[in-house]
Amino acid sequence: MLPDDVVFSPVSALSVLIRSRQVSPVELTEAYLERLEELGPRLNSVATVSHESALAEARSAEAEIEKGPYRGVLHGIPYGAKDLLATSGVRTTWGAPPCQNQVFNYDATVVKRLRNAGAILLGKLAMLELAGVGHYRYASASLTGPGLNPWNSDRYTGGSSSGSAAATAAALVGFSIASETWGSILIPAGLCGVTGLRPTYGRVSRHGALVASWTMDKIGPVCRSVEDCAIVLKAIAGQDDADNSTFRDDFTYGPWRGQLEPLRLGVIQENFRSHGEPEVEQAFAGAIELFESLGAKCDSVSLPQFPYDEVAEIIVAAESTCSFEELISTGKVHELADTSQQAGILAGQEIKAIDYLKAMRMRAWLQETFAPIWKRCDVLLSPTSLSVAPSVREEVNGMFLTPIVAAGNLLGLPAISLPCGFDKSGLPVALSIAGPAFKENLVLQIARAYQDATDWHRRRPPAFCSSPPFARTRTEVNAR
């Protein structure tokens, strides 16, 4: 069995261990499979484990690395995919009881690209049913039950990428793939203390992914560091004939500039007094101070007055109801676990064409209204959520969503969530950095500067460690 210091390492450090033959892909895969199978169910974070195929891929990677060619940083690294990505011959449930036996005969483009990069698919990770787009009320709105937070299993992971965030935080996988329509990467990454990247709309192919809302859906990585997010994005980004929303230009990470001067960071003012937690506010204030100490200029910024939530609501409801037409017509919608989710999808049938089209016009108008913000600042900073992870039994419908989450998704902007502290009870607090379209590199560089100066992202949930937490290893230190 591999020690915690190995399994909790970021991809960047794991790849060093693999290349230097200190750890083999088979050893690593066996270690993650054991954790995924033993610990995953305790967090309700696993949909399907592909034990045999993962080991076969690991043996193949090991042989190839031995003889060459070495495919790059992801070669031999085990990962998990949100269970909305099609995987040939392996069930893809979309987290929904009526789809629990669904099997596709092809792989999603993202899965294919990761295989080409040499990554090893361990299995499929749990999610809210149908990505939660019908407005679920409870965390239990999933085929696999409520997503339990590795930092405290009485708390919720956030959704809809509950399994991706929990499995990455608990080191059940090397990294994971998630998706976001309206907060589904950033929020669970934030509540579980890991780093999640929502790429620009069109940066990553959605071919083979559940269509929740085709003008809002994005696919991105959830990792244990910013650098890992860049590594994974590089592997999955790029034009794809099977998804005509994809952008032609390649994503390039780096070169690392090493300092933040003279970048301008716009700080979105949130109303913590009405619905936030003081400890989250304090941690966020501390992060701003740190950015300033690194040379960035931080100024408050207000978002344009705009009905963000209402426009997102109509677009997501109209598109998802259209996408789930068959579930409605066959009556299978009533097999969904959460009745609010059912009600939301059924109610979407009442949206008139004129309202959807007006919402899309307003969205394009927002693009023009938002543009001047990027003349005043390079990126936008905000707390990922105004509160830490809530009780898993609480009603959670929309409770995490601040206007920038809706704005960023309506505009298709890239954003990253990264840990920036913990509250007194040991639950993670996170900040988000959003940037202009296709400026992932800028967002990642700023986030990396923060992680280079802090160690929040290196903390480990104590219940998932077999040795004392927070011990730093030579491997990890070298990886910095």
Binding site: G145, R363, L411
Partner: protein, 72 residues
């Protein structure tokens, strides 16, 4: 494997209001079934309110974007 125990009873949680243990399946069945009329009404009202806000929003009369959404 030497992990600290999370829950003695795998997959179960304690309902703080009743102190009884609930499995995932029990949680689902508590909230499962068909949506009530109240839930359907609430979902419709929610969308209705959003549509009202959208209809009241004034856009320039000649502002018609391309049908395909692109981030920019």
């Amino acid at each position: 494997m030497g992990f600290q125990p999370i829950d003695q009873d795998r997959g179960k949680m304690i309902d703080p209001s009743t102190s009884r243990s609930l499995s995932t399946r029990e949680l689902e069945s508590e909230h499962g079934g068909r949506p009530s009329d109240t839930e359907l009404y609430a979902a419709t009202v929610n969308l209705d309110n959003a549509m009202r806000v959208i209809r009241a929003f004034a856009l320039p009369a000649n502002f018609f974007p391309p049908f395909v959404f692109r981030a920019r």
